[in-house]
Symmetry: none
Subunit: 202 residues, 4 copies
């Protein structure tokens, strides 16, 4: 009755996270059963509980880890344009956001669509992190406005719109499709900068 597969501790946990990410992305959190997950990992369903505390907690873990990665990578990218002007900074933001949303499309999708399955405490925590991230873009827009470079109408509304536009790539971008990631970044950079720098003053 001992284990039949030689997977050990951390390796199993990693397999659970990976399979969980895929299954939640494909079927949704509610629709993914722990039996599916266990089967994907190659263990019995009860064995999952040697690694996770609840199904809920697995979701939180995945989303939280994604948010941490997002912030860490974002921090590194923005450090590279610290001290530069709003145009350079928003270009860096767009390039980063699109890249991350293409590379981590499953995490990003789950982090948006399965938020409602989090329990209140975790929900609030993640929403706060999202707001914090959005605020970085709003700040750039405000700086651009202050410098007389951008004309947003309303920095928050513009930021929400830009974020939605850029985030949308994870829904349609195909890695080896007609356009490269760089081309998409260029198109959206032009579109956004065009809009910000000339909005209402065409």
């Amino acid at each position: 009755m001992a284990r039949t597969i030689g997977s050990h501790g951390p390796r199993t946990m990693e397999a659970i996270r990976k399979a969980g990410l895929n299954l939640i992305y494909e079927h949704g959190f509610e629709a993914m059963s722990l039996r599916q997950l266990a089967a994907e990992v190659g263990i019995q369903v009860g064995s999952l509980y040697n690694h996770i505390s609840t199904k809920q907690d697995l979701l939180y873990d995945l989303i939280r880890a994604h948010m941490d990665d997002l912030f860490r990578q974002f921090g590194e990218v923005m450090a590279g344009v610290a001290g530069q002007g709003p145009v350079e900074r928003i270009k860096a933001f767009i390039a980063f956001h699109v890249t991350y949303h293409i590379v981590r499309k499953r995490e990003v999708f789950i982090g948006a669509s399965e938020l409602r399955s989090l329990e209140p405490n975790h929900y609030e925590e993640i929403v706060a992190l999202r707001r914090q991230y959005e605020r970085h873009l709003i700040d750039i827009l405000r700086q651009g406005e202050a410098a007389g470079l951008f004309h947003c109408g309303d920095a928050s509304v513009a930021a929400y719109g830009i974020l939605a536009m850029l985030t949308g790539v994870c829904n349609w971008f195909r890695p080896h499709g007609r356009l490269s990631k760089e081309q998409v970044i260029a198109i959206y950079s032009d579109l956004v900068l065009g809009g910000l720098m000339n909005a209402g003053h065409p």
Copy 2:
């Protein structure tokens, strides 16, 4: 939401659709149980089956009805700008899309996030309708490019971006909030037109 004693056929069906819309919007299709739905309507769970054939079918009904409404209203709006130029037409598109996504935010949300719960036939059907709707925007962009007015980089990519931006309002717009619907439409119209008309030529 309690039962109107003696409520018959169409009235009950309407109550089911209304309650279903709310519950799916709040909890998601997978997470909504027919027991919840029946309780909200004020009937027993078995009685639902006098009005719907399956839970799946209720979802399809709601989404299909929403798509039909979308196309009908869209048709009316665009008929009003038939023969006019790309600028007027995209302004009409933006105003319509934002308005519809504010007024019908629950239908719109469900129509996007619960698509994966549809069975393949219905899924394909709805996705085709969505593509058809997107194509209208792409066509406007193409006409604008052909007329030398717009510079999109890529009409499809620009359209996806614009749609995502506009659709996003249903996630954050609050009816009696800081900005009116008209203000939001104005801001996004400026942003989009600014982007399209000057992208890459600032």
Copy 3:
């Protein structure tokens, strides 16, 4: 997929109570599974939930119903000796208590041994009822002491002892055994009255 057995509403609930009583008596509440119970009743396990709300609740229902019966029957018996002296009243008490604990031995056993499986609210409620019942005996003892008939040492302690003695019959009495119920009542009546009327004054 419709029902295979023609049992209807109240009949099914009665069957559940009866089978539950037997199974809990035999195996204990924790050890009884709803699968066993459903099998005994002849329905699927899920069907139990058309009649009970939780396993806990079934236990509470059984115990509460038993307590209600106990009080109702006790009330009738004691009404018959109202106004009589402590000796007649304690004889009536003994006869009633022994009889009830022989006839309803399973309810009585469950009502004592499975109390700890009740949730706090229900636990407190049942314990309060038990105290109320005990108090009737304590009152009889106190009246006997006041009349100079009984010498208890301590009415509460004597009452607990007498109750334990009488309650014990449900553990060893066999309906068609060596002694009849009436003989047991006579023996314990003599023992108790002898003890009360001569305790410490032999």
Copy 4:
């Protein structure tokens, strides 16, 4: 209750027995999980199996050890009144039984209420020991009857009643409560002797 680092063999086993006693007393054998037990001891659940063979076996061990203690202590006490009359011997019995049931209330409670969780072999063995213990009281009663001192009605029935009365103290006696152990013993001695010596001859 956390682990004493480096605790070895017998010390760990002793901790398991102690924690097991408490947990079974509080929650019942079926309701106690080995995870709870291991946590209380401060080891991992798997480590329990270095000390016990099965959960069942732990229960048997605890009950058997309690019966052995009971018999050993009982033997010593009764040796002290060997050759004396039934009155002295029953007084010694009462004092011993009450004392043991106050001091070892958890063992006693488990030894009565969890018997049904023993497997048949062990169950029979323990029940036989209990009968053997009861027989000592029955013998005293018979000797008292033969000597014309006691009037029991039926020695077995009286013995069961007396045992139940005395055993009951473990349910309500509180160490520093209104009455001392000695007072309780005195009250029950009077009650029992009064009953035995005058039953049916008041």
